[in-house]
Amino acid sequence: MTDPLVEVEDLEKYYYEDDSLLDRITGREPTSVKAVDGVSFTVERGETLGLVGESGCGKSTTGETLLRLREATGGSVSFDGEDVFAMDGEDLVDFRQRAGIVFQDPFSSLDPRMTAREIIAEPLAVHDVGTAADRRSRAAELMERVGLSSAQLDRYPNEFSGGQRQRIGIARALALEPDFVVCDEPVSALDVSVQAQILNLLDDLQSEFDLTYLFIAHDLSVVRHITDRVAVMYLGEVVETGPTDDIFEDPGHPYTEALLESVPRADASEHGRRVDALPGDVPSPRDPPAGCRFHTRCPYAREACRETDPQPVAESDSAGDEQRRIACFRTDADHDYWASEPLEHARAEPMADDD
């Protein structure tokens, strides 16, 4: 039933510190920063998968690693049935054509010394597509398609506003007619009124060109609006995946629940709403907590959470298709978790089946 375009399996990206030659000679152990630590998800053909999390949770690194813009330290990614990390030569060039990326910051992701035309046509030139004249007309076509005027093609990035620059970034990503686009926080640097324009544009382009998106964002209302399914990340791990509507209506993981609870709604009824804010900060990925990584902030944490790391448990619908994966002991009614002691910071919760 499912038709995945991208399958990510146990993806790992560790950075090492104290790893210089001198450190090795003096015998110092390298310390690792586990930016992405065993992330698995699939992106179905034609869907938009949201990757959500707070800053530093590894969502952008995941996006860049699965495109091979960074070398992974473990795991595998398959794109349309082929192993991305094993590709070389022609295959890799082909993959680069079929998978594009739109970056977060429209100010630093465009070369200030290239005109809009050069920026948009550069991928075509790199992949040697068409003649110079073809590339020029293709750039003009893309420019119009993303809602800019082709009369502006010879302008430099500094002559465009933030929203217009992001449109150029999108045009560049579309130049090679990719199947798959990673959108790394494409609207977070924009004002709300412009953000809505870009979201509508991405929506239109998806249906027009049959695109598959991996949409990385921290803004939950944007994610709710544009994605079909969501993967929620915390400290380098995916804690919950599932259809967007299900997750937003009935979050399964305590972290997802807390995230949703924290977002201030733009509505008069929001006034004075008191949020049970999560205590503390996100722990450092240099030294992530043992057991469940969320246990230091989780309002439901118990001793069991400190000892073992919960594995994602899949829930399937009646047709046997996997719907959700939640990495929390609370999904298992028979787990030892229920018998263990609540941790000190956890909220007292009345639990009927707490025996």
Partner: protein, 408 residues
């Protein structure tokens, strides 16, 4: 919730701030008027470049060159100050109110801390990276302590920062400006804003703090002078949502504790909705609509406010399509601003009369709720509508155009 019915604490009348740059005069804030009441949270919302931060800086007279507050009055209720300056500046006193714009620099400076205090958007760049957090807060406390000994003098607080002092410190480095009491008070303040182990954290440097913790520390610093008005300029924009929730809770608690007024400046309508009693919406340097929270969110009169609200994806109900405002915010160079409604070029309901600057109209006869838009006064007349391409200048090409309109 009904708007707080406290007395007026601050009356801002027709304040304009301009920047005189090489490209020309920038009208960052244009005849802005509002009042802030005792014990309320007053919100200013707008997109980047709308002039909301400059408005805040204008209140506390922190606009830097080439900018200048060129016009307007800022009336602040302070009975003691009114008494003290009545003789020297009779024109600047109205009952318990004092017009801060007519006060000499020294007096205005003496109000920063005990009367006005400010927290900024980016905690990482607002602290000195080479001085411990505790020391920086203690310094703010010390300044206030010295000032309260001699309220109207700026000299007393800067004493110890002179040349002689500098030389002395070089020779005897242990002598310090900050007293032990101020350090203790700094630790208390850190505790008050919810920093765990405040005594130990006080000796750490800003880079050892997380963004949320540093924002708390900045709030602590702002509280050093026990201000009447706390101006919070995008206090949670640099923070993640779970940390944002913590900081909003903190501001809420502190306000309840101290009874101060908060001027909250943000682009996030959700933050506005959670915190504010009354709200002003800014666009292109002007307040285009003001009113109570309910009035503004339930019954927005200005097309810009409506557009802002329509641009936000709803967390509870994902609508099929967002209704963005087309185009982008104008830059505010004086020479390029016609004397018209600044929003007319993006407004779906622009009419010929919008080519004249609209005055402020009350909405539905409500004194509190007003909008700078003719639609608040009478209905849209289709026959008066401006052509779609009225504002498109032939030389400029098109701005951010909609799909379908780009085929010129």
């Amino acid at each position: 919730m009904a708007a707080n019915s406290g007395r007026d604490l601050l009356r801002v009348e027709d304040v304009s701030t301009r920047f005189f740059t090489e490209e020309g005069q920038i009208n960052a804030v244009e005849e802005v008027s509002f009042t802030v009441r005792e014990g309320e949270v007053f919100g200013i919302v707008g997109e980047s470049g709308s002039g909301k931060s400059v408005t805040a800086l204008s209140l506390v007279d922190l606009v830097e060159s080439p900018g200048r507050v060129t016009d307007g009055e800022i009336w602040f209720r302070n009975a003691d100050l009114a008494e003290a300056v009545r003789d020297d500046h009779p024109g600047a006193v109205d009952g318990e109110f004092v017009d801060l714009r007519q006060m000499p620099d020294g007096v205005r400076r003496s109000l920063r801390g005990p009367s006005f205090s400010m927290i900024f958007q980016d905690p990482m760049s607002s602290f000195n990276p080479s001085v411990t957090v505790g020391e920086q807060i203690a310094e703010a406390v010390e300044v206030q302590r010295r000032a309260s000994a001699n309220p109207r003098s700026t000299r007393s607080r800067s004493q110890g920062y002179g040349l002689g002092r500098l030389l002395l410190d070089t020779v005897v480095p242990t002598r310090s400006y900050v007293s032990r009491e101020s350090r203790e008070r700094a630790v208390d303040l850190l505790d008050q804003v919810g920093i765990p182990d405040p005594a130990e954290r006080a000796d750490e440097y800003p880079h050892q703090f997380s963004g949320g913790m540093l924002q708390r520390a900045m709030v602590a610093q702002a509280l050093a002078g026990e201000p009447d008005v706390l101006i919070a300029d995008e206090p949670t924009t640099a923070l993640d949502v779970t940390i944002q929730a913590q900081i909003l809770n903190l501001l809420d608690d502190l306000q309840a504790e101290t009874g101060m007024s908060i001027v909250l400046i943000t682009h996030n309508l959700g933050v506005i909705a959670r915190m504010c009693d009354r709200v002003s919406v800014m666009y292109a340097g002007e307040i285009v609509e003001r009113g109570s929270l309910d009035a503004l969110f339930e019954n927005p009169a200005h097309p810009y406010t409506q557009g802002l609200l329509g641009s936000i994806p709803d967390l509870e109900d994902p609508a099929a399509r967002l209704q963005p405002i087309e185009g982008s915010v104008p830059d505010l160079v004086d020479a390029e601003m016609d004397d018209r409604c600044y929003f007319a070029d993006r407004c779906p309901k622009a009419m010929t009369e919008c080519l004249d600057k609209p005055p402020e109209f009350p909405v539905d006869g409500d004194d509190e709720h007003a909008a700078k838009c003719v639609l608040a006064d009478h209905d849209y007349v289709e026959s008066e509508a401006l052509d779609d391409d009225y504002f498109a200048s032939p030389l400029e090409g098109m701005g951010d155009t909609v799909e379908g309109e780009a085929d010129d």
